[in-house]
């Protein structure tokens, strides 16, 4: 386990040295279907969110980073060592899979302890106790896992994955199905571990979730690496795009004429369902609409975003990144 010390910084002990997962031109296809398409990214210390709609290839990418899928092309490495077919990487990696993947017949304690033993930790019991304490599951640890709620199972899985204090933690949709309080707690935990210098990657299809936890966001759309940056950058790119609105008013035609006169609106069209307007400058358009309607004496009954689903937001990002 060798790491290169950055200039001016003394190398920390091997177990706490920052870990780096590198993907170089990684593709993965199943027959004719391309699940991941030529992705190059580096996951370093801190919390990284892997954001994308369902079916974007997030799990496929995460499975390749976790050593449970071979890339069809390109390379996936942890500190320059290949991850696929290399069980030694699990000394440094903890994995929280999306599927339940827990033995219902074991108690929480037995499950986490088995993880510690499989890692051959010198004091397995102490490590298990510490991990269960961290996820606040020590009180319920003597119960069988099959009696747990979804959130408790999730926390036990996290405890089992971090029992050996890994430098890398990979979590596949970790906040799915948790109640709000459990979600906040796990988010705090992830943030803390990221702040402690661990390399943490989690996948999610919810922007708000990623924003709250991750410093770095990687956006995946249709298997392609669509955007990369901190949440401000991603947020800006997501709001800074043409928005489509459906508007119903007392006089659609007059409103259309008034809107098109301003440069903040792009295309305006009259449809059976009312007026459709595309806002090029989102902020300006939202101020413009009420003002224009008021001065023309038009009553606006309804303004509805026509394309607010995440899919279209993401597909905008990818068309942008392609140009």
């Amino acid at each position: 386990m060798t790491t290169t010390a950055t200039e001016g910084v003394t190398a920390p002990p091997a177990t706490t040295a920052p870990a780096r997962i590198e993907l170089r031109q990684v593709s993965r296809w199943y027959g004719n279907v391309v699940a991941v398409n030529d992705v190059t990214m580096t996951i370093g210390p801190g919390v990284t969110g892997l954001l994308g709609p369902n079916g974007a290839g997030k799990s496929t990418l995460l499975h390749m980073m976790a050593g449970f899928l071979a890339p069809s092309n390109g390379s996936v490495t942890l500190d320059d060592r290949p991850i696929w077919r290399n069980h030694d990487v699990y000394r440094s990696i903890g994995l929280v899979p999306e599927r339940e993947a827990v033995y219902g017949f074991l108690t929480g304690w037995q499950f986490v302890l088995s993880s510690a033993k499989l890692h051959r930790l010198p004091d397995a019991a102490e490590a298990a106790r510490r991990a269960l304490t961290t996820v606040e599951m020590l009180d319920a640890a003597e119960r069988r896992i099959e009696t747990y709620s979804k959130g408790m199972r999730q926390r036990v899985k996290v405890a089992a994955a971090m029992v050996h204090d890994p430098r890398v933690l990979l979590l596949d949709e970790p906040f799915n199905g948790m109640d709000p309080r459990q979600r906040l707690h796990l988010m705090d935990l992830v943030r803390q571990m990221g702040a402690a210098g661990k390399t943490i990657l989690f996948s999610s299809h919810i922007l708000e979730e990623v924003e709250r936890v991750a410093q770095q966001i990687e956006v995946l759309v249709a298997g392609r690496h669509a955007a990369s940056g901190d949440f401000r950058e991603i947020r800006r790119r997501m709001t800074d795009r043409p928005h489509l609105f459906t508007i119903r008013s007392s006089d659609d035609r007059a409103l259309a004429a008034a809107l098109i006169a301003d440069p903040s609106s792009g295309a305006v069209s009259l449809t059976e369902n009312g007026l459709q307007a595309q806002a090029v400058d989102f902020a300006r358009f939202t101020r413009l609409l009420p003002r224009v309607a008021k001065s023309a004496g038009i009553h606006v009954w309804q303004v509805a975003p026509a394309d607010e689903d995440l899919e279209s937001v993401f597909s905008y990002l990818i068309t942008r990144s392609a140009t």
Partner: protein, 238 residues
């Protein structure tokens, strides 16, 4: 490795399948008791019970339950990831799981075979001892083969039943050549070596072939299972 073994034992024993594993040998012993009560506790009936029910039916079914049971449910529900995401060599995991399945077959297969035959004829004519050893040797091959099936296919149980019931029992009866590729016949051949009874017709598979075949299938299947585990892949499932 004791952790892997412990979880594997609990997986087989802690589920409903344990009742099948208990019922089969219980049935064998019950039949032996019945024959004894009916006064036909002789070499001929002991041999028939062992050949048809013991090695012919119970052993392959136990092999199927134990061999697939130590790994297939884990692969099905994804819990195997818990074992595989650890710094442990995957072939070592396969070997451990084979050991668990083989030990269960010794306990629920070979031991009851001995007990049932002993009830009928005692240590006479080497029948009890022969079938215990034969069942143990056959159990090794079944455990390894069905473990491998559990690793490489989702339809391990269906394929295993087809192999045991159609290939070994039906095809094997009508097509003598098929017996060479039948674990059941290898087990019979091993059992025959200890036999001194005149009622035991010489099996069609020679002992040399049987021993080599058992060794090749057992070692080959476990190694292959280990290699397949090294490339264990999670579906994208999105």
């Amino acid at each position: 490795m004791s952790t892997v073994a412990g979880i594997s034992y609990r997986m087989v024993i802690g589920r409903r399948r344990i009742w099948l594993m208990v019922l089969l040998p219980a049935g064998l012993i019950a039949l032996a008791v019945l024959l004894r009560m009916l006064g036909s506790a002789d070499e001929r009936s002991a041999l028939m019970l062992m050949q048809i029910f013991g090695v012919g039916t119970m052993l392959p079914l136990l092999g199927l339950i134990a061999g697939t049971g130590v790994i297939a449910p884990e692969i099905d529900d994804g819990t195997i990831v818990h074992l595989l995401s650890k710094p442990i060599s995957r072939p070592a995991i396969a070997i451990t799981k084979f050991g668990v399945a083989a030990s269960l077959l010794a306990l629920f297969g070979a031991l009851p075979a001995f007990a049932a035959a002993y009830l009928l004829v005692g240590m006479e004519a080497g029948i009890a001892f022969g079938f215990a050893v034969g069942a143990f040797a056959g159990g090794l091959a079944y455990a390894a083969l069905f473990l491998l099936l559990g690793v490489i296919t989702k339809h391990a149980v269906a394929i295993g039943i087809a192999y045991a019931l159609i290939w070994e029992s039906v095809v094997g009866v009508f097509v003598p050549g098929a017996r060479n590729f039948s674990i059941q016949q290898w087990a019979q051949s091993v059992a025959f070596q200890f036999n001194t009874s005149g009622f035991f017709t010489k099996p069609s598979v020679g002992i040399g072939f049987a021993l080599i075949a058992i060794a090749v299938v057992t070692v080959g299947a476990v190694l292959w299972a280990g290699q397949r585990l090294r490339s264990f892949t999670l579906a994208g499932e999105e």
